[in-house]
Symmetry: C2
Amino acid sequence: MAESNEQVVRNKQVVLKKYVNVGLPKESDMEIRESSIQLKVPEGCKDSVLLKNLYLSCDPYMRSRMKKLETPSYVDSFQTGSPMNGYGVGKVVDSTHPDYKKGDLVWGFTGWEEYTITAPFLLFKIEHTDVPLTYYTGLLGMPGMTAYAGFFEVCKPKKGEYVYVSAASGAVGQLVGQFAKLLGCYVVGSAGSKEKVELLTNKLGFDAAFNYKEEQDLDAALKRYFPEGIDIYFENVGGKMLDAVLLNMRIHGRIAVCGMISQYNNERPDPVHNLMYIVGKRIRMEGFIVSDFYHLYPKFLELVIPSLKEGKITYVEDTAEGLESAPAALLGLFTGRNVGKQLVVISHD
Amino acid sequence: MAESNEQVVRNKQVVLKKYVNVGLPKESDMEIRESSIQLKVPEGCKDSVLLKNLYLSCDPYMRSRMKKLETPSYVDSFQTGSPMNGYGVGKVVDSTHPDYKKGDLVWGFTGWEEYTITAPFLLFKIEHTDVPLTYYTGLLGMPGMTAYAGFFEVCKPKKGEYVYVSAASGAVGQLVGQFAKLLGCYVVGSAGSKEKVELLTNKLGFDAAFNYKEEQDLDAALKRYFPEGIDIYFENVGGKMLDAVLLNMRIHGRIAVCGMISQYNNERPDPVHNLMYIVGKRIRMEGFIVSDFYHLYPKFLELVIPSLKEGKITYVEDTAEGLESAPAALLGLFTGRNVGKQLVVISHD
């Protein structure tokens, strides 16, 4: 006789149908599939949890997982025909893991589906619940840690320095700018619409912002906003913007390379010509990935939770409702449709 | 009545006739001019020295000084119509500077001429004279310090790491490779001729070496020599080589950007496409210039002088005789004519 916690429920999933190596993926490259799941960690599955997924995080790095990667990268390709996965927020429904019990809230790696059984991998227990839970897909989750690690650990900023952030209204960029302001830097951001540019200056506290799509000459735009040059560039886009930035860096400038979203759909990346400036200006350009820095998560929360409660940090989210909206929400990142952190609500409890 | 140390002597000089912004300069862009000089620091010139120049150093960075630089760089343009200048070795003939006296041997910044009057700028007194004095244009001078600072301070190498050096038989590259071997790294170098490649493995102790001009596919060549990938790339050439290296770097690899000699004569630098790899591989790419590290010169000598005397380090020089040969010797750097450190002998005493 089945116990109540063994009930079988529907489990909708987002599945990648085929790899898309070049160009902008389409919604039809993914599909919504209905499956079912027993609400219990299966017999013999040790150290596992069954999560009810509440919020999914749409992140640019997922684009490379939609490709059939020939050479190993820091992320694996998705499995076609299986549910996609990524960061999200969930609630523990059942657990055979000693550290997790029913009712625990967690954020971290989970499936793009309603319920996921997983051996906890990159799963963090949520201790602070007096803040919006959705923030654990952004401000208090992977993108927040990315901004923190990239800005403080990689850029090693100093008060008064000139900081430039591209994709500045995005999940990571909006925080880099706010961290820089907290430290006492001068911060300019760029984004791809009037609405986003207004957000940066009116809501997020950037000193200035511009719409890169309206600039004929990115070098000239940067010279206008940084007549003294740029000490720190937080790189989210790559390509032509990087080339223009290299012309405008100051001596001993630092470029933290978080991502290059302008390049992810290209068959061949855009050329960069101005690397010679790295020598004379003694520029340090350094790539990083957030998983190298998760040991700093407690230290990060010590900074961010009080700043958030005191209103010194704010966060802009773009919310899509329902698992069905996940494919479009993900793809919107690559056309800049999202305003702020893009997340998908699967369930509110 | 003139005293003996006020005698007037001939002073031959190398003069840049006109700026050469693009393309390979020609010998006729420079000229040898005969001037004369009184062998005494002029009345009223405080804190100055009059040097008899013995050896001149030909260095790749001098190419950019032959251009009319629109934006300020870490080096100035040469003055057309005036003697060129650069690193060299000289003997003090007269001095009004308290730290220098007649007969002192020095290396550092001086004129491309037989005698130079200068307020000591980047001038180091030579304390060790039981080594070839010409070495102060290379091994024991600016190129030596460049190799030392770039390898130890910028790359932060560890024993057992895989190190790749381009332009490896040059003034800097040959030392980087030897430093890496002293530390216990695996070192491969590339150069542009059979003779240079043989030098690298037979005389300079590199584990392997290849002629980049004979490789159709630089990526394939690097994969052959570094099946496990590259931890440290000491960048001297730029362009296509850098693009191929980025494909072959290991996680947490470091690229010290010392120069990009393949690019100096180009109107527009060659494109680099593979910067995306900086993110996933967490590569640190960092430019440096030696003058930021001269405070380490005593520490550098502590390593190099004993290693040299014990035969653990050797040094290959390419010597041109006479000031008249200086223009051709300098330009030879850009066609790879020199084998080892290129210097010009003005006088042996």
